[in-house]
């Protein structure tokens, strides 16, 4: 049998080029990334890590790298999500300095290209990539732009940072692969909010990658509202290492994109560290959204908490994959994950795979998963109080999804995420 060309390699090969002027380590990283991608090609259902999400459609779409932004047609930018934030604006995956407001944080937030000489950037970007992280490898090969965010030891970033990613697709299907390097120093603090928006029409692929380190004692709040356009495809992978006593607090709200996958791979490297991965998603039509997480407990007395809640309507499909691994030395691990899905239509589907892989004995780990329609009792209760059926349904759905945000520590961030959810539900101002 002749060796078959791995899926999609031909489609992406033309975009891969040697770039002059980059440090040698980066050229190496890009070559490795592309080699790795070429080996396996785009993942399909046959790859266990992608069992429920096939990227076959991406191979057919013939995305071209987005040109520099000059000719992108933009409407008005939306206002800030969180009052008082600094903001970095990306148009089609490239930083638009003129639209950004980094006042007060310029010492912390740099264009990635300007920080390539820094050791910490090299250290973060150069970390080993897992076999299943194919799209991440492709991101390394192809990224054109990004940010380098660094908060030195003991400092707090003076303003929260919003990163606004605007998709402005044109006639042809475009793609971009932005990359973030984020380093939160010892006992430092920062809040980063990502917002991804796009128009209803126009095909594009946004393939994000982020390398994050949360050093000993540090706290990073990292929230994301994914409101991509209806024909957009959104893939995002964040790899996070967490030091002793540190907290990585992550929340994702997924409402947009035809196809999306939000993947977070975290390793709890220091004892007494904690990771919170939470998310809410609401899907309709033919949307497909995949939330995948991996948590490696690699040190004693580490803690992980995950709650993902979804409401799935139309012909949409939700996917949850949660994988907790407890290393032999990670005694006294406390890990919990929960995935709950509401199926709101006859053609909706949810697939979940909450895996526990445990090699230490003194642990407390658990997971739960539920799927089903709205709870009739709740609905009845609300209606008995005089709330019309449709309104009651919305409220129940809202409550169900909002529960996933409870684990998010920062109250202000939680409320802007919920506000975004309420907007989508037509329940603005409910809280």
């Amino acid at each position: 049998m002749a060796a078959k060309e791995p899926l999609g390699v031909a489609a992406f090969a033309p975009s891969f080029r040697e770039r002059s002027g980059e440090p040698e380590w980066l050229s190496g990283l890009r070559r490795d990334g592309f080699a790795r991608f070429s080996e396996g090609g785009l993942p399909t259902n046959r790859d266990e890590a992608w069992k429920y999400t096939s990227l076959r459609p991406i191979a057919r779409a013939k995305y071209e790298p987005a040109p520099a932004n000059d000719d992108a047609v933009l409407g008005d930018l939306p206002g800030l999500m969180l009052e008082g934030s600094a903001r970095a604006v990306f148009i089609n995956g490239r930083l638009a300095p003129a639209l950004s407001d980094l006042e007060g944080v310029t010492a912390y937030v740099l264009p990635l290209a300007d920080a390539l000489g820094a050791d910490w950037v090299q250290a973060l970007l150069g970390r080993q990539v897992d076999d299943a992280q194919v799209m991440y490898a492709l991101n390394a090969a192809l990224f054109d732009d990004g940010l380098a965010i660094r908060v030195p030891d003991g400092e707090t970033m003076p303003r929260p940072l919003e990163i606004l990613f605007v998709a402005a697709p044109g006639e042809r299907a475009l793609m971009w692969h932005p990359r973030m390097a984020i380093d939160i120093g010892e006992n430092a603090r920062a809040t980063i909010i990502e917002r991804h928006i796009g128009p209803a029409k126009g095909a594009y692929l946004a393939n994000h990658g982020a390398d994050i380190r949360v050093a000993d004692g540090a706290v990073l709040t990292h929230a994301k509202a994914q409101l991509e356009g209806g024909e957009g495809r959104h893939l995002a992978m964040a790899r996070v290492s967490i030091g002793e006593g540190a907290i990585y607090d992550n929340f994702v709200l997924t409402l947009g994109a035809a196809l999306s996958r939000n993947e977070v791979a975290t390793s709890l490297n220091g004892s007494d560290s904690e990771v919170r991965l939470n998310g809410a998603y609401m899907l309709n039509d033919r949307q497909h959204a995949d939330h995948s997480s991996r948590i490696d407990h690699l040190a004693p007395s580490t803690r992980s908490r995950q709650v993902y809640s979804g409401a799935i309507g139309g012909n949409a499909r939700g996917v949850f994959q949660g994988h907790i691994v407890v290393d032999q030395i990670a005694q006294k691990t406390d890990g919990h994950q929960l995935n709950r899905a509401l199926l709101l239509s006859d053609h909706a589907e949810i697939d979940s795979k909450p895996v526990l892989e445990i090699y230490a004995d003194d642990v407390k780990c658990s997971h739960g998963a539920t799927a089903g329609d709205i709870d009739d009792d709740q609905l009845f209760y609300l209606r008995a109080r005089g709330i019309p059926a449709e309104q009651a349904r919305l409220l129940v759905v809202r409550g169900f999804l909002a529960a996933a945000a409870e684990g998010l520590g920062d109250e202000a961030v939680r409320s802007i995420m919920l506000a975004e959810l309420d907007k989508a539900l037509g329940l603005e101002g409910i809280e």
């Binding site: 199926l343 697939d351 445990i358």
Partner: protein, 487 residues
């Protein structure tokens, strides 16, 4: 004496951990070593099978040649050399199948006595519910008891070889109907070379008057056991069936690849219990049975029910997922499992519940216990198809770890395509509770016994599902399997 203390004493008396580890010295007739179309023909000819079955086997063999051994289980073992085994071994004395127990080789009868399996009908204890037993020794069935009494009720209980001769139309209709011959690598292998197994047919409206049981024993060296069991419950019938398995202690690994197919028609119920105690190998992982089993039930009729209960304590490797296809409306599937892996054992077991019919219900209770250097995984699928209106599933998977060198893993797959269906899954993993052990010990209970007590409590919900007679046995087995895991 408490059950657990008794066990400990028993074991000490036998002065060995695995009391079924003896070898019976009996003359056997083997097929030539290795696997080929000729082996398949040899087996089929030995069994005097009809042409269609030989063809069926050969097709399975050809499919098997094209298939890949599955590698997705969380199991590690050296490659199996399928040419280095015998695929047929029959006690010589059994060449002319015995008409009654009196014709069975006394050496064989003694073996089963030693194993605690009552074969002589008159030896059944008064007061204990009668149990009919089919006994499979290496590749062939050597005896089936209570045939006459069962026949009066219209129940057919025989070896599958006999059923192929006596009831070819039933075998032909149902064999491969639930587990297609090319379903998976090991099922294909079994379909090609299966040698014996049990056949049960319960006619319409009949409640089988006694428990049915098959006892599997691997004796010969280098021999694989490939049995096939087929149980058909016609409309409104009921049967409770139990299988037990043991094997001698040998330094090399032996292969066991079975296929079990169950079919329930409307309002019928099958309760299928397994106490699997194949030789697990020694503390260093030398020897032991490789147990690759495909078990599946088709709940074809409305309101039919299948309940799988398994206590898995043996085997070096266990790869086994008793499943239910819930096709009939209001049909029910249950899976109750205790899997214990100690020393170097590896178990990857679980279930699949495929909901097709309306208001189908399934319940999964899995208790995994890992000790020593063992790895124990639960792997399960719950699938609600679009037709599964108002279907329900509840799953509870708990894992217990004893010692810090073992692993406990949970791989559930939950897929729902029906909004009115409800799926609930919960899993927990924790260490055996120090507080509970201390509490027991403060009351004077020794450490090993305290562990056995706490573990038996942990498994109780599952053990309760076993027929009474076996629940006690199983409880002892739980204690024995954990010997040496503390201290």
């Amino acid at each position: 004496m408490s059950a657990t203390a008794e066990t400990v004493a028993d074991v000490e008396r036998l002065n060995e951990k695995y009391k079924y580890g003896f070898v019976t010295d009996i003359e056997a007739e083997n097929a030539p070593k290795g696997l080929s179309e000729d082996t398949v023909r040899f087996i089929s000819a030995k069994k005097n099978e009809p042409e269609w079955l030989l063809e069926w086997r050969l097709e399975a063999y050809r499919r098997w040649l094209e298939m890949k051994e599955p590698d997705w289980g969380k199991l590690g073992y050296p490659p199996i050399d399928y040419q280095d085994a015998y695929y047929y071994s029959a006690p010589k004395s059994n060449e002319n199948a015995p008409e009654s127990l009196d014709d069975v080789d006394p050496e064989l009868l003694r073996t089963y006595e030693k194993l605690g399996i009552p074969l002589r009908e008159q030896e059944m204890l008064a007061g204990v519910k009668n149990i009919a037993v089919d006994v499979v020794f290496d590749s062939v069935s050597v005896a089936t008891t209570f045939k006459k009494k069962l026949a009066e009720a219209g129940v057919i209980f025989s070896s599958i070889s006999e059923a192929i001769q006596e009831h070819p139309e039933l075998v032909r209709k149902y064999m491969g109907a639930v587990v297609p011959r090319d379903d998976n690598y090991f099922a294909a292998l079994n379909s090609a070379v299966f040698t014996d197994g049990s056949f049960v047919y319960i006619p319409k409206g009949v409640k089988c008057p006694m428990e049915l049981s098959t006892y599997f024993r691997i004796n010969a060296e280098n021999t694989g056991q490939f049995e096939r069991t087929l149980i058909i419950a016609e409309e409104g019938s009921y049967v409770s069936y139990l299988e037990g398995c043991t094997a001698p202690m040998r330094d090399e690994n032996q292969l066991h690849a079975a296929v079990v197919e169950l079919v329930t028609h409307a309002d019928a119920e099958i309760k299928y219990s397994t106490v699997q105690n194949w030789y697990p190998g020694d503390e260093n992982g030398v020897g032991g049975i490789y147990n690759f089993v495909t078990k599946r039930a088709l709940c074809a009729g409305d309101r039919s029910k299948v309940s799988w209960t398994q206590v898995e304590t043996g085997s070096a490797i266990t790869w086994k997922y008793p499943s239910c296809i819930l096709q009939g409306d209001d049909s029910q599937g249950e899976f109750y499992s205790v899997a214990i892996a100690n020393n170097m054992q590896q178990a990857d077991t679980g279930t699949k519940m495929i909901h097709l019919g309306k208001r189908t219900r399934s319940r999964i209770i899995s208790k995994g216990i890992s000790a020593g250097n063992a790895q124990n995984s639960y792997r399960g699928l719950v699938k609600m198809l679009p037709t599964a209106e108002k279907a329900r599933n509840y799953t509870q998977c708990d894992s217990l770890l004893i010692g810090d060198q073992c692993g406990a893993h949970t791989f559930p797959y939950i897929e729902s395509q029906n909004r009115s269906a409800r799926v609930e899954h919960e899993a927990t993993t924790s260490k055996i509770s120090e507080d509970q052990l201390f509490y027991c010990r403060q009351r004077g209970i020794g450490e090993e016994e305290a562990v056995a007590l706490v573990v038996n409590g942990f498994c109780r919900e599952v053990l309760q599902q076993l027929p009474m007679e076996f629940a006690v046995e199983a409880q002892k087995l739980v204690s024995i399997s954990l010997e040496g895991s503390v201290g």
